[in-house]
Symmetry: C2
Amino acid sequence: MTTFPESHQDLLQADVGTLTTKGHDGYPQVTALWFLFDEGVIKLSLNAARQKVKNLQADPKCTFFVLDTANPYRTLEVRAQAKIDADDDYAFAQKLGTKYGGVDFGEIDEPGETRVVVSLVPVKVNTYGS
Amino acid sequence: MTTFPESHQDLLQADVGTLTTKGHDGYPQVTALWFLFDEGVIKLSLNAARQKVKNLQADPKCTFFVLDTANPYRTLEVRAQAKIDADDDYAFAQKLGTKYGGVDFGEIDEPGETRVVVSLVPVKVNTYGS
């Protein structure tokens, strides 16, 4: 299954998901982060200097996971290929920022830093709980 | 850091954590599961037939992650080596079961199935939030 079942669609509107990438030492690297379900695709806005972006550039196989904070046995696991695109004008960052009360990533990032859009192309979607 | 900081010790008592293993196809496999913080060690009780056990046998590098359901920006990430031991008499399974209201794994597992204790030996501990 590479689509998101109706039963777990609400988790695509959650505040926080976790992204697992493969670290250069072979250990999975897991971080909680913001995301936007945008036109049917889970998309992340990442500072290009971050280790997780480097990990995805080295190996685009990653897993995005959302746990229902009201019922942590209800989960959505999305194994995916990461597609990385430049977001030099912060157009996507701004779109994602509106989900979080208008966060301005241009103010958060340091001068000279850049940002990318990471789009997750599912290869396997698993759900648990109901 | 390979110890658990005081600030996030409470997350070691949470009901649910997530375990990431590396699947044979190279994608991280993430599942929510029960655990017990036992004598200073994060331990899992897993049915030996499960894919995540096979993944750990092939590659013991894994990551355990706990998210504070009351504040999902507060997280504990434990990159670890998995040490797998037989639990043929279900001694550890029973100990873990007491954390969850006395669950009897002997009743849950199918006849002929076995169970293992997975002890996580930290190589790196990261915390976020406060």
